[in-house]
């Protein structure tokens, strides 16, 4: 056995050390993120030309473009997800502002807890809760009849509004947390200075509070958008047949139709959609990706 020269040996040891340090991250990235996506990418480009015979081709993507139900569902998912993100932002902003700047020391953690409590139950249970509220024989319908505002049972499930409602509810926590973090670092004196120099509520909000909260707004919006676009349970349960969420299309291709290549192509389209919209959002608000991640 010939010994390596000592300098080479220490270099080797250094490299090994680095490799071992990086191994968990590399494994996680490789096995759980990159590998499945490569697999899906490869699958999405394979067309079935005969039973059990596949060839490379763009057929799955052409199928997506050619079938209106597919790309309409896709566009609808994109549009509703953006809408859900905006509504979540508008509802969460005052809540976060209150928690960050107006709530006293004692009530602050309590308010945070109240936002968190619904998330102790699974999404399925939370959504079932909404179904009990909204269905024809549900709580709201019953109350409306009792109050004399409705003559018969009212069905409030299985429409776009109920889907949006459920998704907004599910996204709020993920918007409130980064917003509260961003707003907490806003010095109260700056808000006061904004008023002192003659600013109205709107001016102070527009020129001082919102610019300061921007990293939180972008971070929250990205998280809520991604969670919404990829949601499955809420649109299916609250939207029923009218839910038409793109994840359902993926599910049905993989599980019902057993058409994995088509499902993979859909999955890739969804990934593309998320990426493009997040990128657009960052560009429009002038925020850096790294900066946003740091604040989130």
């Amino acid at each position: 056995m010939t010994a390596l020269p000592s300098s080479e040996r220490s270099l080797f040891a250094e490299k090994l050390g680095l490799f071992l340090l990086l191994a968990p991250a590399v494994l996680w990235l490789g096995v759980l993120v990159i590998l499945p996506h490569v697999e899906i990418a490869v699958l999405s480009f394979s067309e079935r030309i005969a039973p059990r015979v596949y060839a490379f081709g763009f057929g799955n993507y052409l199928e997506f473009l050619g079938e209106p139900i597919y790309w309409r569902t896709f566009a609808r998912t994109a549009f509703l997800s953006i809408l859900v993100t905006l509504i979540t932002l508008v509802i969460s902003f005052p809540v976060a502002l209150y928690i960050a700047k107006f709530a006293s020391g004692k009530s602050k953690p309590l308010l945070f807890l109240m936002c968190l409590i619904p998330f102790w139950a699974s999404e399925l249970v939370r959504t079932l809760g909404w179904m009990m509220m909204l269905r024809e024989t549900g709580v709201l319908s019953f109350l409306l009849q009792k109050a004399g505002l409705a003559s018969g049972p009212v069905e409030m499930l299985y429409n776009d509004a109920s889907v949006v409602l459920g998704l907004v509810y599910g996204g709020m926590l993920f918007m409130i947390v980064p917003l509260t973090n961003a707003l907490e670092s806003l010095e109260t004196a700056q808000i006061e200075a904004g008023y002192d120099l003659g600013g109205s509520h709107l001016t102070v909000l527009r020129r001082i509070i919102i610019p300061h909260a921007m990293p939180g707004i972008v971070a929250g919006s990205i998280v809520v958008f991604m969670l919404t676009v990829g949601n499955f349970v809420t649109p299916v349960m609250l939207g029923g047949k009218n839910g038409l969420w793109f994840t359902e299309q993926i599910y049905s291709q993989f599980i019902t139709r057993f058409n994995w290549p088509q499902g993979s192509a859909f999955g890739f389209m969804l990934l593309l959609l998320s990426t493009v919209i997040v990128w657009l959002g960052l560009r429009l608000t002038g925020q850096g990706f790294a900066e946003t991640l740091r604040k989130a």
Binding site: E187, A189, Q190, E192, A193, G194, Y195, D196, L197, G198, G199, S200, T203, R207, I208, P211, H212
Partner: protein, 371 residues
């Protein structure tokens, strides 16, 4: 400049004053933060409120700015009551303790913020921003981010941001607190010069007596929510009306004792440590006596101080050399603790610990207050 008509008939003093407070009280629960404060500030005056932290001075200022509402009393600016006027509509602008510059805006945008709020058109606003930055010595700084400025420059932006709006009154809440000592000394002079140049009324709040004494035309000393005394810096320093003012403004030797009756030259007191002194003041029974270190005359032998009714002999226990502010700690029979300013130009400049020394002071220099 806006001229407020004098048709509003208020209190006698409110009309000529830029700011008038009438029996203002502010209570937080059972705690009375501001207790029946009345004062007025004349146009162009530099008025300071000096007090220890927690004395209510910040609450008072926040009420004038409009961030707090008085429990009772009235706040008037040029004779008009401000109680129903929200903070953003008052002709008052504030320089915050932290300055509270808007970090996401440039210097020009910070200064222009108030103008934009007031609806001044862009061209005029631009000219006014340029003019004010020029006057505070920041010409050409419009596009600099405020985060890239030095402490003194940030200070000037904060002041320019207020002055550009031509307010009746500028409130300053310890704006020099965050600066280092050298810069603070420099900014004191600069603030005073700015105030004189703009001839705007300044209301300044501080716990630093040197800031208040150097810059102000008049100073109010505040303690436990009340004004102890309002007067010129000289008046406060030389003729304090209360024990608190005597102790808080300037440096002093503080002694406890009791009176033993009027003497030919003043009120006779006997310190709890034994020395018998003659001072100025009132009271009988237990008293506190205040004596400024620089009011003590020093001599190598007590005989040289024959004109002073209070003269004693002692020894130097420590020399605290601090340039012009050097002091001697003197040990003398009947005195607990005595500090005297040591003039560095006199014959005693080279005195060492252990040397015998004579000291004395005029009766009017020893201020006596009921304890």
């Amino acid at each position: 400049m806006t001229l407020v008509g004098n048709g509003v008939r208020g209190d006698f003093m409110s009309d000529s004053a830029d700011l008038a407070l009438l029996s203002v009280v502010k209570e937080f629960g059972a705690h009375r933060a501001v207790d029946s404060v009345t004062f007025d500030v004349a146009p162009g005056e530099f008025f300071s409120i000096l007090g220890p932290s927690g004395c209510g001075k910040t609450t008072l200022m926040r009420m004038i700015a409009g961030f707090e509402h008085p429990t009772s009393g009235d706040i008037r600016i040029r004779g008009k009551s401000m109680l129903a006027v929200p903070a953003n509509k008052r002709p008052v602008n504030m320089v915050f303790q932290s300055l509270a510059l808007f970090p996401m805006m440039s210097v020009g945008e910070n200064v222009g913020y108030g103008l934009a709020c007031a609806g001044v058109d862009k061209i005029e606003a631009g000219q006014r921003i340029t003019r004010i930055l020029d006057r505070v010595g920041l010409a050409g700084f419009e596009d600099r981010p405020v985060t890239k400025l030095s402490g003194g420059q940030r200070q000037r932006v904060a002041i320019a941001r207020c002055l550009v709006l031509e307010p009746t009154l500028v409130l300053l809440d310890e704006p020099l607190g965050a600066l280092d000592l050298k810069l603070r000394e420099h900014m004191k002079l600069e603030l005073k010069q700015l105030q004189a140049a703009f001839n705007t009324t300044f209301l300044y709040i501080t716990h630093d007596q040197s800031e208040a004494l150097v810059m102000s035309d008049r100073v109010a000393v505040m303690n436990k929510g009340r004004f102890e005394q309002v007067g010129s810096p000289r008046e406060l320093y030389h003729n304090p009306l209360t024990s608190f003012v005597a102790g808080f403004v300037g440096d002093a030797n503080v002694w406890n004792g009791s009176t033993f009756g009027a003497q030919a030259t003043g009120l006779g007191i006997k310190l709890s440590t034994g020395a018998a002194l003659v001072g100025a003041g009132s009271g009988s029974g237990a008293v506190s006596a205040y004596l400024r270190p620089e009011a003590i005359a020093l001599a190598a032998v007590p005989g040289e101080l024959s004109s002073l009714p209070n003269r004693f002999a002692g020894t130097v226990s420590t020399v605290l050399f601090d340039g012009a502010a050097s002091t001697l700690v003197i040990k003398a029979e009947g005195f607990p603790h005595l500090r005297a300013t040591l003039p560095q130009a006199g014959p005693l400049a080279g005195i060492m610990a252990g040397a015998p020394i004579g000291f004395g002071f005029a009766p009017e220099a020893l201020k006596i207050f009921p304890a």
